[in-house]
Structures are given as structure tokens and as C-alpha cells.
Amino acid sequence: MIDKRYDSAREALKDVFDGASIMISGFGDAGMPHELVDALVDQGATDLTVISNNAGGGEIGIAALMKANRVRKVVCSFPRMAQPHHFEARYRAGDVELELVPQGNLACRIQAAGAGLGAVYTPTGYGTLLAEGKETREIDGRMYVLEYPIKADFALIKALTADRWGNLLYRKAGRNFGPIMAMAATTTIAQVSHFAELGEIDPETVITPGIFVQRVVKLQPAVDAASAA
């Protein structure tokens, strides 16, 4: 029997290795798997490359990884979120390298990895600092920049509901990067609020089919957005 459910974040993260590349979903706090990332701090892996829209704010999640100096490189579009002091300190100390990627290029490079493409010509960033040194090409009268896929060893994402095959539902704008990161990582680990029985999720409404998800773990968010709704 296929059963992708794990009993604890600790179990779900046990093979994360030093030097691993890790995608982390979320935009603001929505869809951010803070509890799973906090468990990664406890797990101890270091020298990580983090691919996420932000570089952590406050004291939990990615910020806690930064504080513990586990991150060698961040690939993100917007490192400046609220209270970015842990990232800023590491960045200014030279402990962490920053690859700044326009958000749409970040999304499409993650999608390219998930879909098995070799590279894509994207319109974003042409003629800017963020395309310096990159190959460009005029296609049909418009200029494009050649960008390569971003894949990862692990994706840590937050969803609302999972079944034992790994099918996922999300909640509102918490969906954001989850579905595309799930497709681009070797091992996708989803933190969810609920487990559903197999067949309980309407096949028409599945957002991430289980083929893209290797492990699911039920974790109670410290602050549950749903409870405020």
C-alpha cells in the first residue's frame, strides 16, 4: 500500500543532507511551512541552498535557518520582507550568497525544471542588471534572456489537505509556489493541516496530484490562518 503520510516532521526530514538545495513555498506567511522549516533547524543540515520568494523575516522558519547559519546561498526575488534582520546580518557578514531573480523568472525556472525543459527565453529582466552576462536573443522582434531551470533536492511546502497518495489541496493565496515547487524537487515534503481518506478529495479539484509529492506530514501551525477566517 502506498502511504506517504509521516508521523512527524523529524521523520519526514531525516535524510536532508548538508549541501542540499531546498525549495520553500510561501509568499508572506501564506503558504509558508514555518513549522517544517523550524524542524529543519532542529534536524541540523547545513550549507544549504534555499530557493524561496523571500529570505525570511522575524524569528521563525527561514529566518531561524539564517540565524543558525545553515544557509550558504539564497535564490529569491524579494529578500526584504518584514524584519529581515537575520538575513541582513548574514548577508552583510558574507555568510550567505544572494542570487536575486525576478519573481516571474523564479516561477518559470522552477516550472521549467518540473517540466523537463533545458532552458527558456524569458522576456523579464532584459537590459537590466539582473540579466548582465546572460545570453540574449531577439525573437519575433522582441528581446529575451536565456534562463536555466531551478531544481532542488527537497521542496518543503505547505498545503491544507493531503491523502495517502500525496494529492494536495491548498488554501486561498497560500497556494502560491507550492504546486510548482512540488514538481521541481526530487523529494517534496508537504506540511498539511488535515489528512483526508483516499477518494475524499474530488479528483476535479486536486491541485497537486500525488505524483509530485513524496511525503506528507500533519503539523499544527503555531498561528493558523484558517482560524482567523
Binding site: 509568499f27 508572506g28 506567511d29 501564506a30 503558504g31 526575488s77 524579494f78 529578500p79 526584504r80 520582507m81 518584514a82 529581515p84 541582513e88 548577508y91 544572494l98 536575486l100 531573480v101 525576478p102 519573481q103 516571474g104 523568472n105 516561477a107 518559470c108 522552477i110 516550472q111 524569458t122 522576456p123 523579464t124 529582466g125 532584459y126 537590459g127 537590466t128 542588471l129 539582473l130 528581446m143 491548498y170 488554501r171 486561498k172 493565496a173 497560500g174 497556494r175 502560491n176 509556489f177 507550492g178 504546486p179 510548482i180 491541485i207 498561528v223 490562518a225 484558517a226 482567523a228 477566517a229
Partner: protein, 215 residues
């Protein structure tokens, strides 16, 4: 001279958004435009974090941190709205499905080049978000900004000195003193506020300006 407030500028931008338009409002001042959209027009707001049909801020009791805009402020969803992932969201922007985006700027050139993501200060930690995607992707890019910096320098320039966000992408510029159309032939003045002459405006802007021929 009377200058427009941010609210007046937002109201002016809102006038130019037609019924049925799909619109993305950038972080900061452009967000104000939502408050001035004509009540008799259905206009659909997109947020880069996966929302179409964004509604106004909720009452405090209804705040849901899974329902926020690109500026991470709580919003609501209108009937007919939809959620989607970041791939689809940026396909909307980059694939020219968004009719209008409204952005702030540090500088805009008369040809429509946009600089709004980076001051170029060597010690700044840069952040770009979705600005470059909106700049290249939306069918029309509107910029809202004061014409002058606090130091009195014009932000409408012959050539941007700040790092660029996008090239030749801004179509309309809404400032506190005038509205401009930008393009390969330079800046045309669509309207002036506060009774200025074209010569006075040109002197203030420090770039050559033409009056737009009336339609």
C-alpha cells in the same frame, strides 16, 4: 502651484481604467487606486500571489492571513474570484493577459524606460519581486509618482540613472502636476494640473515635452 495629492493622483489613474479591465496594482501608492475605481465599472484586480477578483480590506475580525495582497496586507475575494499558483499568476502578467498595471517609480524616461526596483546604492540589499515581470508583461504600464524628488529633481528623465526595471515599457505617467504619454517619440503632455503652461512644465521636468494633439 496646486499639486495633486496621492489620493487625487489615484483617482485620476482610476478614471482611465475601463470596464472589464484586468488590473494589477503595484505595492505602495498604486494600491490606493483600488479605492477610486468607478462604482459603475466592473474591474478585476489581480494580485501576483495568486488572486483574481481581489476585493477591499476586510474588517479586522475577518482578517485571514492566507488572503493577502502583494504588499502582504489582508484583502478579500469578490464573487467570481479565483485562486491559482505562481506559474499561472506570472503567465497572466508575462503573457500579456493583464490589461493595465500601475507601478510606482524612482525614475521614468521619456521613451518609457522604468527604474523602480533599486536605488543603485552600493550597500543596499536589492529586492525586485514582480516589478520586472509587470513592466514587460502588462499590455499597458501606468506609472504614478510625484514629478520631482524631495530635492527638486525631475524624475522624468532623458535617460534613467538608476538601474532599469524594464525598457520602453511605460505607456502613461501620472504625476502630481501632469499626465504624460511616453514612447519612442518622447513625452507628450496629456493634461496639466494647477494652470501651468507647457513651458513651465517643461522647465520643471527638464526634458523636452510636446502637447498631445487633441483627438
Amino acid at each position: 502651484m496646486q499639486r495633486m495629492t496621492r489620493e487625487q493622483m489615484a483617482a485620476r489613474v482610476a478614471q482611465d481604467i475601463p470596464e472589464g479591465a484586468y488590473v494589477n496594482l503595484g505595492i505602495g501608492v498604486p494600491t490606493l487606486v483600488a479605492n477610486f475605481l468607478p462604482k459603475d465599472r466592473e474591474i478585476i484586480l489581480q494580485s501576483e500571489n495568486g488572486i483574481l477578483g481581489m476585493g477591499p480590506a476586510p474588517a479586522e475580525a475577518d482578517v485571514d492571513w492566507d488572503l493577502i495582497n502583494a504588499g502582504k496586507q489582508p484583502v478579500t475575494l469578490l464573487a467570481g474570484g479565483a485562486f491559482f499558483h505562481h506559474g499561472d499568476s506570472f503567465a497572466m502578467m508575462r503573457g500579456s493577459h493583464i490589461d493595465i498595471c500601475v507601478l510606482g517609480a524612482f525614475q521614468v524616461s521619456v521613451a518609457g524606460d522604468l527604474a523602480n526596483w533599486h536605488t543603485g546604492a552600493p550597500d543596499a540589499i536589492p529586492a525586485v519581486g514582480g516589478a520586472m515581470d509587470l513592466a514587460v508583461g502588462a499590455k499597458q504600464v501606468f506609472v504614478m509618482m510625484d514629478l520631482l524628488t524631495k530635492g527638486g529633481e525631475s524624475k522624468l528623465v532623458a535617460k534613467c540613472s538608476y538601474p532599469l526595471t524594464g525598457i520602453a515599457c511605460v505607456t502613461r505617467l501620472y504625476t502630481d502636476v501632469a499626465v504624460f504619454e511616453l514612447g519612442p517619440d518622447g513625452a507628450e503632455v496629456v493634461e496639466m494640473h494647477g494652470g501651468m503652461t507647457l513651458g513651465e512644465l517643461e522647465q520643471m521636468a527638464g526634458v523636452p515635452l510636446r502637447a498631445k494633439a487633441s483627438a
